[in-house]
Structure formats: C-alpha cells, structure tokens
Symmetry: C2
Subunit: 396 residues, 2 copies
C-alpha cells in the first residue's frame, strides 16, 4: 500500500472539528448544545448580496479572471479608500477565501523549511497552511495577563534566523480579540525593515473594533509598501463565510505578479460568490452599525457573566468576536469533551474550543478556551450559566 506524505501526517486536525462527533452524540442524546466554539456568525447576510445572486441573469456559469474582474477590484479599492487604505485595483487579487490568500502569500515568499514568526495564540489554521506549504511556524508567546498585546520586540529578535522570511499577525486577533495599536505596528515595521522580512497581516476582522478604538492597517503605514501583504475576506464582514471570497493585497509588484501565477494555476475564484461579494460592497452603513452595536452588547454581556465565575482569567477583547478565557482546570481538552459527553444542565450543555490548538508551543494554553460571542445575548447568558454550573461539578 503506497504511503501518504510526511506533510500529510503532520497536517493538524482542526482543534474544533475533533469535538464534532461528541457534539453529534450529545444531540442524539437529546441535549441542546450551545455553540461557543465556532466563528460562524448568526447575523444575516446583507439582502443586497443574496438578491444579486437570486436575480442573476447569467446563463453560463463561466470562469472569471484569475485575479477577479477589474470592475470588482475597482470597487474593492474604493471600499479600502473609504477606510483610509489607498491601493490600486492592480494591488488586489481576489481569492477563494482568506484561506487561499494566505496560501498564495506563503507560496509566493517562502520555500520548504523557511520560517514565519507568529505571535501565539493564533488562528489555528495558520498551522495547517504552514504544514501544507512545508514551512515552519516559529511562535512568539503573547500573554493573557497583557490581554495578548504584541510581545516585546526583543522576543522577535531572538527568533530571527537566516530562514526567517516573514512575521504574521492577525489584527484584530482571532482568537485573542486584541487590537494592535499604531505604535505596535510601527515596532513591527522597524523589525521587518531591519531584517528585510515581509509583514503579513490578516485583517479580516477590521470592522469589528469596539469602544471607540481605531483600527490601524499595515497598509496605512508609509514606508512599509514593499513589505506589507494584507489578507482580507468578506466572510465575517458581511456574514458570508460560505461565499469563500477573500483578497490578497500588496503594493509590492513582485508579490502580486507571483501570487497571480498561483491564481492562474487554479483558474478563478468562484463566480457566484463574486457576484454576491461585489453586491455586498453596497451594503448600507446602517447594517454595520447595527452589527457593531450587537457585538458590543454581546461582548459586554459575555464578560459580565464570565466575571461572576470564580477563578477565571479573561482577556478582554477590543475587537473581532472571540475571547480567551483561562479556567481553573488542568485540561481544557478534557473539559470540552466532558461537557459534551458527560455533562448536562436541564438537558443543555455548551461546546467550547480548547485553546491549545491555537498555540504551536507544546503545553501552552492547556487550561484556556476560546469563546466566540456569535450568539445572541439571551443565549450567551444561558451558555455562561451552564459553564458556571459545569465548573462546580467538573471532576478536575
């Protein structure tokens, strides 16, 4: 029997999906499971986006241009201009989700065994994309005590080798909810310039910023043009995760030229989804205002409720819709499975994401979970109450 690859063996399983069989069993056992584990918002997709698809007059579902249509990219550039990010439509490649934008970025700037430094905890799939690209993630540890702020720049310096090609941040952060300040971006600018590295920023949660804080993009930083690669996606912005439309954006012409070759090999991003995503750019501002009000309420409710539980450490999120919580337990993996398998409170339980999957350093975050506040307030209150009751009886 022929063997699968070393790379294939090393590919991580999703830290969330491995709990799915337990959740399915819980449902079969008649339990209601509140999902605090996934970033699939319950917010409706803008009607303007769905209507564009429903009203399409296409009779041949043909390939689009590999980089996305010129018209669509021009509209994207206008959207960025409104967000004080000034790019040309030729600086943009439309991709199949932010996932593909990351794969194109990794492929364009890194070869086998090259290294990328990422503050951890980080979006778990960065591990998968790195393994698929045969590159090495070098984590730099950020701490729950600092709300997961940027680690001291000396910590990055210590990790840089001949193999280091890039630093990757997620801003605002999944799973941390941390929002990098302009000063932190400037520190990153200094180090990538000093060592001639790329700075990749996954900015898919750009709009999800709270408390009057301002989002600062790496694309706004003058002097970073040749280093900056922005990853973007319509998934969360317009609650259209299933569209699978993202963008790779860079003013570095070589990067765009190279990423375009990867894009050409796979022919084109999905056509129907591009129709929806292009129309979504016309979503009225009121939609976003309502969404932000909703998420702020949810976050406030979540944090308030969590604070009624003793012994928790909470990293208060300034953006995105995730929150890392440290529990007074040993193994969040075991706890998450136990919640689904062995626990119920009035026939209800909760599903949480163990945070260890968001670290690449072994044995980090073992007692942490990620909570996604993508449920309405009433449900969040119920879910946290269940969590509280569960912790009282959990055989630690």
């Amino acid at each position: 029997m022929p063997k699968i690859s070393r790379k294939g063996q090393l590919m991580p399983s999703s830290p969330i999906r491995k709990l799915v069989p337990y959740a399915e069993q819980a449902y079969k056992d008649g339990k209601t499971v509140y999902h605090l584990n996934i970033g699939q918002p319950d917010i409706k997709t803008p009607e303007v986006a769905m209507d564009a698809v429903k009203n399409t007059s296409l009779d041949i579902l043909a390939y689009s241009r590999s980089e996305g249509s010129e018209g669509y990219r021009k509209k994207i550039a206008q959207y960025y201009a409104k967000n004080d990010i000034h790019v040309d439509h030729n600086d943009i490649i439309v991709t199949t989700g932010g996932s593909e934008a990351l794969l194109f970025a990794f492929g364009s700037i890194m070869d086998s065994d090259d290294e990328i430094i990422i503050p951890e905890p980080f979006y778990a799939n960065y591990n998968g994309f790195s393994t698929a690209s045969d590159i090495k993630v070098v984590p730099v540890i950020s701490k729950i005590e600092d709300n997961f702020a940027l680690p001291a720049i000396e910590e990055f310096e210590k990790l840089i080798t001949d193999k280091t090609k890039a630093i990757l941040i997620c801003n605002p952060g999944n799973p941390t909810g941390y929002l990098y300040s302009r000063e932190e971006i400037k520190k990153l600018e200094a180090i990538v310039k000093k060592h001639d590295l790329f700075l990749i920023a996954d900015e898919v949660y750009r709009e999800f910023v709270y408390d009057g804080n301002e989002f600062y993009s790496i694309m706004q930083e003058e002097g970073l043009e040749e280093h900056a690669i922005m990853i973007d996606s319509v998934s969360k912005r317009y609650s259209m995760c299933g569209a699978r439309i993202g963008y790779l954006v860079s003013k570095n012409k070589e990067v765009i030229k190279t990423a375009l070759k990867f894009a050409q090999a796979r022919l084109s991003p999905p056509t129907l989804a591009q129709i929806a995503a292009e129309a979504a750019l016309d979503t009225p501002q009121s939609y976003f205002d309502d969404v932000i009000v909703e998420y702020v309420k949810r976050r406030n409710t979540l944090i308030k409720e969590l604070k009624t539980i003793e012994g928790l450490k909470i990293a208060e999120p300034k953006g995105a819709f995730y929150c890392i919580v440290e529990l007074p337990i040993k193994s969040a993996d075991h706890f998450a499975q136990w919640l689904l398998e062995s626990y119920e409170y009035n026939k209800q339980t909760v599903m949480v994401a163990p945070a260890a999957g968001f670290y690449s350093t072994p044995n980090m975050g073992l007692n942490q979970i990620r909570i996604a506040y993508v449920l309405n307030e009433e449900t969040l209150i119920k879910a946290v109450h269940i969590l509280k009751e569960a912790l009282k009886v959990y055989p630690n």
Copy 2:
C-alpha cells in the same frame, strides 16, 4: 526589499494567459478574435442548476462541511453508481474545483522533491500545481503519431526512482483528446502495484466520449482500491466552470483522512456553488445527449476543415473537446502572437494555444497548437478558414 520565493519564481505563467494582452490589443484594433484557445464551453449551464441558486431561501451564507454536505456526497455517489463506479459517500471530498482536488492529492501523498510521472503533453496547470507543491514532474513522452496513446510501459519503468510517488493521467485527455483503453489502465495498474505508487486520474471529461467508445475509470479496476485517486469536477460536465466545484475520490482511507485535514484548514468549498452543483445532478439525460451530439458535430467539422490544410498533423480526438495539431511552422508561440498582432482576414483573426506549455520537456511541441472545439460549427469553419489563409502568408 524582501525576496519572493524560489518556488514563486519557478511558477509557470499560463501558456494561454500570456497571449491575453495581444488579444486585448487585437480587439482594440477592431479585429474579431475567434477563441480556439480556451476550454470555456459556450454550452448553457443546466437551468435546474441556475434555478436552484436563484430560488435559494438561505439568509445566512454559512460555511458548509469541509468535505461537502453528507446529502450532496450521497447524491454524488449515486451519480457514480449510474456510471458503474461504486464508491461510498465517505470516499468523496468536495473541493473548490478539480484544481483543489489535485492540490489536496499532491499534498497528501508527496513531499518536497518527490516525483510524479505524467504522460506529456498534459494539462498545463499540472506544472503549476507541482511547483506550488514543490514536487517534480517527470514527463514520459506520448506521440502525435500514436494519437498520444499511453507510452510503452518500459518508458515509465525507466523513469521510476526512490522519489517516485505517483503516476498522473488525464482521461479523456486535455490537451490530447486521447481516451485510455481498459488495457492501458491495466498496464498502469500493474506498474503502480509493482512499485507501490499511487495512480491519480483526472477524469473531468468522463462524459465527453465519442464514436461509441467506452470510458473506463481507474475506480472500476478491481485491486486498484488502495492506489487509485480520482480527480473530478463539475466544470465541463455541466458547463459551470465558474462554480469551482470538484471532487477528490479514493477508496484509500488514509488518503481521504489526510486530504480531509487539508480540506478542514481551508474551512469549506463555496456554498452557493454547491447548491448549483447538487441541483445539476438532476440535469435530464437529454441535456447530455444534446451536448454530445453537438461536440461530435463540432469535432467532425473541425477535423474535416483542418484536413483541407496542407502539411498538418492531427491527433484525432476520441474524447474531451481538444485537439493537438502540428503545423508546418517553427514556433507556435510566435505564430499565435503573430495571428493576434500582425494578421487579419476581413478584420478577423484566431487565437490558439501554443502546445509547448503542455509539455515539460524543453523544446517539445514547439510547432504544435491545441485547439478547443468549444465554438459552434459555423464559427469553427470560419476560424479554420482564417487559420488556413494565415498559414499561406505567415513569414515562417
């Protein structure tokens, strides 16, 4: 300025897309350009598929399962059963086009510097996917004189090394139109078993088989279960190239388990496209019958017209909708560019795909072009007439 990767430098440009600027200029110059170069059929997408999207009642465009919904995969398994291919729905992963299925297959079974043997000429993007996966294509030459039949198995044997992990075929072939016989599949079976290799078959043109010939899938071959990986796509079957839905199919559980990890990292295939593709499975048989009749007419017309040109060598296609033609010229690259840039016949010209991009051996196929017969008969007659007139005056 930070450098792009070696891999990025090596990524091939599409052999077709590099002619696009010349085509655009030709249009600007007021010329009508007949596209014999691309595999984008002019056949309408089945109405049942487009209607499913237009009538969707989804209000949140959410992620689907990474491997595609169970319901959809069960329907796919039924489609295969009708084609005498017996697989379980768990043997199927829904991918973002056949492109992604190939990338998942390559990633699952090969590491950096591993080798894959492919009869050439082959679908040009196999080069791109191989470079992106950092693996090496080892071509085995098939010949226009044999209509590009399977090369002698000894030619494969000569190329097998410790690094060889797989043989890849496209059946029916793009760009050759060749249909492998059951005997040829059996020869491949013997060699992959002898050397413990995988056999990947890109069978996206399965339905496009003419003259009463029968298509024989690697999935029909008993004893090949652990070796066979089938790549499939809805792009050509239902004229929905822009959907970006494909499948990876294998009875090898390790392959599926591994490919699923790649699938999970990128979250899910596009949701709207899956709605269309699932509905497309209900396309009435009359649609396919009409399509096949149409392609047979087109192929017959194309071949008949081409035979009126002196000095051509034509590989007569038994399937797919491509045909390789050897021209009495030195450089098809130059000829293709000249057709767009410097030639016109009553304000008209043709765009062809130089075949060198379908070879990985240097200097092969330099005087060959690929013609896609995806245009109606009337247009094909016009286009071949222009080609004939052009060859008379081309300054070779």
